[in-house]
Amino acid sequence: MIPTAILFLTGLLATLLGVEAPVRWVRWVVRAGLALALGAALFFGAEGQAFGGLFLYDGFARVAGVVGIVAGLFASLVGARYLERTGMERFEYHALLAYSVFGVQVMAASANLVVILIGLEILSLPLYALAALRYDAKSEEAGLKYFLLGAVASAVMLYGIVLLYGATGSFAVSAVGQGPLYLAGLLLVLAGLFFKASLVPFHWWAPDVYQGAPTPVTLYMATGVKAAAFAALARVVVGAGVGGLAGAVVALVVVLTVFYGNLGALAQSEAKRLLAYSSVAHAGYIALAVFGPNPAPAMGFYLFVYALSTGLAFAVLSQLDEGEGVPFAGVKGLIKKSPMLAGVLAIALFSLAGMPPFAGFWGKYLVFVEAARGGQYTLVAFALLTAVVAAYYYMKLLALAFFASAGEGGKTPEVPALAAVTMGLVGFLVLALGVFPGLVYGFFNVGNLVP
């Protein structure tokens, strides 16, 4: 409860303050607000409900909310150089970020379809603006594409909610009905959530938007937004029952996603776009968790370590990006230009590839265990097979950064101290959680998804 309130107030304060005060202040107000919310979520517990149970801040909401806050904070701490280079340093950027993180909390903290949709809108609207904030053709294209497709997805989902209400007389995710009306409604709601979670075949926007949007915004989109989308998706799927239609649809979507995401990444020659496809593929792995008897811990842990690892990779790209993206040539010979960035990138990529002793391995391990407990061995084997493809393109990127000689015009990227310290800490965390996953596992070990 408290973190959600803190974030809302942070957004308001940032907006009001921004009109008069220098942008530097707004930046720090937002960072302080995010840090405060994180502290409250971690140490206060603060679970509870409001509005007659419509807003339900349970253990799972807390976990997903923390991932969202961490993503927002991460984007804010490492984005300074990028904002400065591209002339994006305006107070709206910081305020919008705070509002969006607030939206993540709302979307994750409800088992009611209407509130979920409201949360989705709160988190999305600021993002549409953020994606277009760089004011060049690519950024505007990303923002417009995201907005139009996102609006359609929301409308589809809303229509599905209406049908579900017609079939069951309830907005609760646990309301199960029968007949074509119910099934159609369920499919439409799932489609809307698949869109936000960028699961194939509702992923088409992701590569373009991720590539075109400002890199720190991409960082946040790929990590924080996914946490909210998956929190809602898991509640809906588990509420409807994985034994039925929802389970079958998710299984099909997982297969398509891991297959398409990983193969799509193979063909890329731009680092942001490659990571966009990789994040599509990871969405498939995360979705595997819903098949298990106790999906919350696996999903929460995966979302968290995935947010750290992908965030770390995008943080490195934020330092390399001059506003035109990061073609592979820009990563070439990174080890010689900046050993620190190269080292951090290596940690991120090994973790994303799921190699021990990095945290990503335990994330993969836990979701696969859940799927195996649910008896989905074929799905697990399939997902693991495509993980080999994933390993190939991560290695390719790594080989460029480490083993290729630097391209011409190799400038040494200057990394601001704050960003460097943040990346160092996150990198250390990814490694530490890889060696001692038990340290934080208890935090993710929360109970039911559906009240």
């Binding site: 190699m355 696969f368 084997a381 693991l384 993980a387 390993a391 190939y392 290695m395 596992y441 070990n445």
Partner: protein, 472 residues
């Protein structure tokens, strides 16, 4: 103690990455301590598991940090740090960070041989890959990226499928955790076991390697750093035979018996075919790569025979070949330092102006041929004896491979060291003597007193065979 044994090299490795100048001395110190500790384990090894320790890693998910040394574990707890120690004696101009990576790999390898929890085993198995890739990628030859991709993709396609099988091994049978004893108490059967065994077999066949999954191996060695250090680590990393012995076959004995004829045939073919190819090589590292491949085929035959003698022989061979094959790769490194190339030709006539060097090379070669009285013989002999009990015809193929080894090794020796004298190079000197003497002593001791290793290995092999049900 066992934790110090496992993690001391990694600690030294991390320090070496930061302070590369201390790498060599730190590495020598750490591996020496680990070797001594391993020797302690070996002397205390009985029929059970020594120095067992179990700490929950992810308790709710049933993952433990569980390590301990049975006879086989104890032998490798000596061999692995000992070989790295010898390698560090032999290489003189390896970059410090490269030594650091090798030390990190040492810990991973020790973990592979000592872990008694399946997920922990997998963690070590995969984690070892990372320094191995970096060794190749950072310090390798011109075509290193291609070799690296081949190596990484082969290894990962095996190991990721194995991860699915690991999950099946526990959840299909409903075992309480991934601890070896829990898994053995609730073994799975039927079609699930067949699939799971197939996945394990694929992973370990790639790591043995067995034909036709060996294609990463020659490039891996040819492109690695010429000093031979990375090749030694790669040789130690060929843990497939051990994987079959410790995990795949005991967990799925029925499935193994269904696959046994095919596996035996492939192993025999690998042994013979690789020996044939080795004969035609013109490059030190490629010749050694194929020669070692042939030996791995013989070792795989031993394990696949499903007999106590064969399995014991296979693991003895695995341990001993790490010593002399590793030694030969380091020897090739010396040749590279002296002649500036890895071709087999220019060393001609070495025996005349560097007799000690040539004599040391001869000892290593003879160990590889399996001359009685040297380390190569007991393992090869026991492996073939085991396979003879299971299938005399395949044993014949194995014998042919051993004879072929004599042909390519002695042929190479004659071309290398005798013949018309070529460039005059430095004789064995300085710290090189340390390596030469130590390697010779170890090879001779294992040759004349094989019981040092074979007794504890036999104890473990007895347990292996009893799991299979019957056998010799």
């Amino acid at each position: 103690m066992i934790h110090v044994l496992i993690f001391l090299p990694a600690l030294a490795g991390l320090v070496a990455l930061v302070y590369p100048r201390w790498a060599q001395s730190l590495g020598l110190l750490a591996t020496a301590v680990s070797t001594v500790l391993g020797f302690g384990l070996l002397l205390g090894a009985g029929s059970g598991v020594a120095a067992y320790a179990e700490i929950p890693l992810l308790k709710d998910a049933g993952v433990y940090y569980a390590v301990g040394a049975d006879g086989v574990g104890a032998v490798f707890a000596v061999v692995i740090p000992l070989v790295v120690f010898m390698a560090l004696l032999a290489v003189r101009e390896a970059p410090g960070r490269m030594i650091g990576l090798a030390l990190l790999m040492t810990t991973g390898l020790l973990g592979i041989f000592l872990s008694l929890d399946l997920v922990l085993f997998y963690v070590f198995y995969e984690a070892t890959l990372i320094p191995s890739l970096l060794l190749l990628g950072v310090y390798g030859g011109r075509d290193r990226v291609r070799a690296l991709m081949k190596f990484a993709l082969f290894t990962l396609s095996g190991s990721l499928l194995m991860l699915a099988a690991i999950l099946a091994a526990r959840f299909v049978g409903g075992a309480e955790s991934f601890l070896l004893r829990d898994l053995l108490a609730a073994r799975i059967g039927g079609a699930a076991a067949l699939w799971a065994f197939a996945a394990f077999a694929l992973a370990f066949a790639i790591k043995t390697p067995i034909f036709p999954l060996h294609v990463w191996l020659p490039d891996f060695h040819a492109q690695n750093h010429p000093s031979g250090l990375a090749d030694v680590m790669g040789t130690l990393y060929k843990v497939g035979v051990f994987g079959f012995f410790r995990w795949a076959i005991p967990l799925f004995p029925d499935a193994f018996q269904a696959f046994q004829p095919y596996l035996l045939f492939l192993a025999a073919f690998t042994a013979l075919w690789a020996a044939w190819i080795a004969y035609a090589q013109n490059d030190w590292k490629r010749m050694l790569a194929y020669g070692a491949l042939s030996h791995m085929g013989v070792a795989a035959l031993g394990v696949f025979s499903g007999t106590q003698i064969g399995a014991a022989g296979a693991l003895f061979l695995l341990a001993a070949s790490a010593i002399y094959t590793g030694g030969l790769f380091l020897f090739a490194g010396w040749m590279h330092a002296r002649f500036g190339s890895l071709e087999l030709g220019p060393t001609s006539g070495l025996a005349r102006h560097a007799p000690a060097l040539a004599a040391f090379g001869l000892i290593l070669f003879l160990a590889m041929v399996g001359l009685p009285g040297l380390a190569g013989f007991p393992g090869e002999f026991l492996s073939l004896l085991g396979i003879w009990q299971a299938s005399p015809w395949l044993a014949l193929l194995g014998f042919l491979a051993v004879i072929a080894a004599a042909a390519y090794v002695l042929g190479a020796y004659q071309r290398l060291f005798h013949g018309p004298p070529g460039k005059i190079v430095a004789e064995l000197g300085g710290p090189e003597w340390g390596f030469a003497v130590l390697a010779t002593v170890v090879i001779v001791v294992l040759g004349v007193y094989p019981a040092l290793f074979s007794t504890p290995i036999s104890e473990a092999a007895k347990a292996f065979v009893s799991v299979l049900g019957g056998g010799q």
